[in-house]
Symmetry: C2
């Protein structure tokens, strides 16, 4: 009995560690083989040495691992779409290399890119355009059941629009610094840079993990010869 408790304690800690890892949404966080190995090792040791209590814990850990994988694959899919939009926008000469996708219940509501040049409208950033089009399509002024995938960190105007439209979640790819490096105004970095309204926004906003962030960062370098600054 003493042994069971001891192992249960160890596995509880492992589970906690795993839950913390899931919550760890720092830039550059890669989805590695470790995410799979941790619960599997726990499962083997617990089955061999302890009993049902630990098996239960391991099933929970496996479920968390599965959930993490599904969320990451989903994020990657939609972020890739936003990045494709960024390239498309520059190719057609509609605007600068920024894309944004609004998703609701695993369906793409709208997929947009920067339309500043096309529409002669300095407010037609990808995110603002996506919010406008999604609201028009869904025929309502709030998007609280929707998520946004943006190829780059939103600028203060776009983050204001995100806040006002009540999007529940935003995943972005490139950091503002990647855009600033090719000549964009450093104003882009100011929304998430500690403004009062960012601090009080209740939505979940995270930078994409590993590969998604990498492909989004490359957009600026790959397109910088195809557009000029305003």
């Amino acid at each position: 009995m003493c042994q069971v408790s001891k192992f249960a304690l160890v596995d509880n800690n492992l589970l906690l560690f795993y839950a913390c890892k899931l919550d760890m949404q720092s830039p550059g966080h890669h989805h590695s083989i470790l995410s799979f190995l941790v619960p599997v090792c726990v499962f083997i040791t617990s089955t061999l040495f302890v009993g049902y209590y630990n098996i239960f814990l391991v099933i929970v850990a496996l479920f968390l691992w599965f959930f993490e994988t599904v969320v990451q694959d989903r994020d990657h899919k939609y972020l890739t779409r936003a990045v494709e939009e960024a390239y498309k926008g520059v190719e057609c000469g509609d605007g600068r290399p920024f894309g944004a996708v609004v998703v609701r219940n695993d369906e793409v509501v709208v997929s947009c890119h920067n339309m500043v040049l096309k529409n002669t409208d300095p407010t037609a950033h990808a995110e603002v355009t996506a919010i406008r089009e999604a609201c028009a399509k869904l025929n309502r002024i709030e998007l609280s059941d929707c998520e946004m995938y943006a190829s780059c960190e939103p600028c203060p105007m776009c983050f204001g629009a995100i806040y006002l439209s009540r999007l529940k979640r935003v995943v972005y790819g490139a950091k503002a610094e990647a855009a600033i490096a090719v000549g964009f105004d450093n104003f882009i970095a100011d929304a998430l840079g500690g403004t009062a309204y960012y601090q009080k926004a209740h939505l979940e906003i995270k930078r994409a993990d590993g590969e998604g962030a990498d492909i989004a960062e490359q957009v600026f370098e790959k397109t910088k010869k195809k557009f000029s600054m305003y």
Copy 2:
């Protein structure tokens, strides 16, 4: 000669005082009869007791007074138009009580109000709508030779749009607190509340003087029964 220097010194100080007063653009600063009396008194005393040097100083003071009056009257005229738009927007049911006017070379380019409900677009605030329409009308994506008159302090999204469109000057009427008092999100107050991008914006942004601010503040109280929050 000693007397001349003494008076010249006194009048120099008065002129300096007057110049400081001109620069004093704090909320609630009323354009009073004092603005007229100060240079007139200086003129009378200097003509009677001193000579040409002081007369020159007084002419400069009178010119400053005239310039201040012209600017204030102009600001008041366009701000009144923005306030009228705010009322109009609520009356037609297009949106909430906010208006904005874009002016170029003393001509109104566009005069708009909040169109959130009409356009089913949470980004269609008065200022954003005015920027969009002014750019479409002038067929360019920047408004560096234009000014904006807004019935209320711009929210962070609108201030982002103002920054991006490079408007050279913004005059607003009501403080954000007047809108918050009737139930609007206190997010409105966050643009001018010390955000990084407000700090580095080069445009002139000021609250209207006395009467203009008063009529703008009244909009919310007078219309609050005619609209509901989103």
